[in-house]
Symmetry: C2
Subunit: 409 residues, 2 copies
């Protein structure tokens, strides 16, 4: 049986970056930029006032003090958005608002608070300032040709603000991978139905769809295929037009696990069937009609953990992200854990950051059918393949699945 890392290596080698499209920046939050964006403009485009005050020639006021103010003639008043008509000459000032372009001839701004203007259009300057004082120079945020947002960046609010800042109303992003999801199992009924005895609701499709969406993909629910070849072939064929096809269930060794045979009949080159992990040992990966196929196990926890380790990073890689893995931290284990050797266990745990360390408390119930263990945890403690005991208070490796609970202090 191959390890998780071996399985990941096989999978990620087959995952290619998806095509990209031009979209409106208003739709771009969370999408991944597919090209470097260089600015064709300087920001600000021209020197401008950083404050409300008076544009002056610093030379004119070099001796100004509170006791001995310099008087200047106010020749014009400009707000942001307006260029001064006048050129400033000796003995003159222009009333200026924040963001307005520096008038020709002026080289500094005196803040309003350091001045007093009379009704007769003369302003007293109470403070000398250096040349360049309170002036924002052209290009101090962005220079022409600057790389403002790089290819492979997940677009955050500041990045979108920056695109608007340089005048872009659209940008090129990687497409959302379309992920077809097929649940398999004779025991499954859909949410609107009433289960008979022996039947349960199909929950995997909905959990997987949310995982796909959270990873930036678009889920296509194919419903349920019962445990017969006809149903499976029909479902799988429908899913082959998507960028990725996921099934849940039917990849174990049971008498009724038909997915394997069906896939092989359809020409799927299966790379492996089992991974040395728990939950989630039964797990298939291959290429089907040129696209990746993931045969995930049927138990709800196994399905979600397998998605986390194999499908989520694949979706991020398709979207051009460089960092495709969740954050991993070293944490102090709260409590003891025991297992038999051979498989690596992924233990559902609550991990918090307290003062100066991460702490992980495993949930009591860890069965692969216990979905509430996923709801209540925010992390997975790694219990290595051949270890049989993890001691209370020892350091363990932990994958953070969700926002870490960092205690405000």
């Amino acid at each position: 049986m191959i390890t998780v890392e071996e399985a990941q290596e096989i999978i990620f080698a087959k995952i290619k970056t998806i095509d990209s499209s031009e979209i409106d920046i208003q739709d771009a939050l969370g999408r991944v930029l597919s090209e470097d964006v260089f600015s064709e403009r300087a920001i600000p485009p021209w020197a401008n006032s950083a404050m409300d005050g008076y544009a002056v020639r610093s030379e004119d006021i070099k001796n100004a003090t509170k006791g001995n103010p310099v008087e200047l003639k106010v020749i014009e008043r400009i707000q942001a958005g307006v260029k001064a008509k006048s050129v400033l000459r000796e003995g003159e000032a222009i009333r200026i608002m924040t963001g307005a372009p520096m008038p020709q001839g002026a080289d500094a701004i005196v803040l309003q608070e350091e001045t007093e203007e009379s009704d007769s259009g003369v302003v007293k300057i109470y403070l000398s300032v250096e040349s360049g004082e309170s002036v924002r120079v052209a290009g101090e945020d962005v220079e022409i040709g600057d790389l403002v947002v790089s290819k492979g960046t997940k677009l955050t609010p500041p990045a979108i603000g920056m695109l608007a800042n340089i005048g872009m109303d659209s940008c090129s992003v990687y497409n959302k991978p379309r992920v077809a999801i097929l649940a398999t199992g004779e025991e499954l009924v859909d949410l609107k139905e009433i289960p008979d005895e022996g039947q349960i609701f199909n929950s995997n499709s909905y959990a997987l769809a949310a995982q796909v969406e959270e990873a930036g993909g678009e889920a296509i629910l194919l419903g349920i295929a019962k445990d017969n070849t006809e149903d499976l072939v029909k479902g799988i064929k429908r899913g082959m037009s998507a960028d990725i096809l996921i099934t849940s269930g039917g990849v174990s060794v049971g008498d009724f696990d038909l997915v394997k045979d069906t896939l092989q009949d359809l020409g799927n080159e299966i790379n492996f069937w089992r991974v040395r992990m728990k939950p989630g040992k039964p797990m298939a990966f291959g290429m089907l009609g040129g696209n990746p196929f993931f045969g995930l196990p049927g138990n709800p926890v196994s399905t979600m953990v397998s998605f986390e380790l194999f499908v989520r990073p694949s979706l991020l890689k398709m979207q051009g992200l460089k960092n495709i893995f969740r954050a991993k931290v070293n944490a102090t284990l709260k409590g003891e854990l025991l297992k038999s050797p051979e498989r690596r266990h992924y233990i559902r745990a609550v991990t918090t950051f307290n003062e100066n360390q991460w702490e992980s408390t495993p949930l009591e119930v860890q069965g692969s059918n216990i979905l509430h263990s996923m709801v209540k945890s925010n992390s997975l403690v790694l219990f290595p393949e051949y270890e049989t005991k993890l001691e209370d208070a020892q350091t363990v490796e932990v994958i953070l699945l969700d926002d870490p609970n960092i205690n405000n202090n």
Copy 2:
């Protein structure tokens, strides 16, 4: 001038939880549940097999060993989804697949690997098992009446899986707050236009819209109001039908800052106009037509930081979340910082978790017009009101704005 905490207290006292709606669970990722969800069903609904194998009476095989197997007659074969027709009696076994209901009379499962079935319908059992072995009892994941997801929970993939698990195809969530955004300023032009000298692109509306969306709201862009009362009144009136109205710019003390007068004419009860912080000192909050109004400053960094501190937690509170603040950590400062006293500074920084500590490196350029400082940072270092110096390597408080960069190790 009031402090950030005083301003937050005034604001959050006015923020009420928004109405809720019933939505499909497929649309519920990231939404906040507006009612406790209790299960009307047990999960699993009935005892079932945890493994592929044989359902037996443990009493029948208590002496079974590899050398001295017990032979049982295989009377039926059942897969998941199917209830056995037979009742198991002494000397009998039922072939059973994972998830299939336990047959009447059976009390344990022997794994397939510990058995050998002959063509004549007899199975040799090589291992004795305890009563209950490999049996999942009814309700071991969820019992009838269990609180499975609580009111105020942000719906994650496992929570959505859990709703499906108990058969819910829709759930009640808080509405997305509709946030109207009005940019003000004579200097602004929209993205499709060509700016004249003195004009710049309206970037604040797009950055704010992305911040609104990231906080679970729905942005309504009202475009640009020029610096005249008519334009402002028109824009503000259009925004009054939203749940929240945000303006950017026009709340400073400049000659052309008309927002203040306009709002007062429209009956806005303004609670304050300035906050002891940088970037972002000019900042208005009040109630307008019964809804919160935020007058944010016009500089792009000031706008975004003010949104972070005041609007984002308001949106989260409206959506019924309990924890409305970003994570705050103590970090080691890399480099020295200086400022004048009086205002608290929020220093844009890159914060990472390395080995066992958080480290924050401030960006070099911190001007409130330098939008690239927001793009390149992931956190805000707090430089307290009356401090004038933060030493290299000292411990500082840091707000994490984005995924913290936790170094995989």
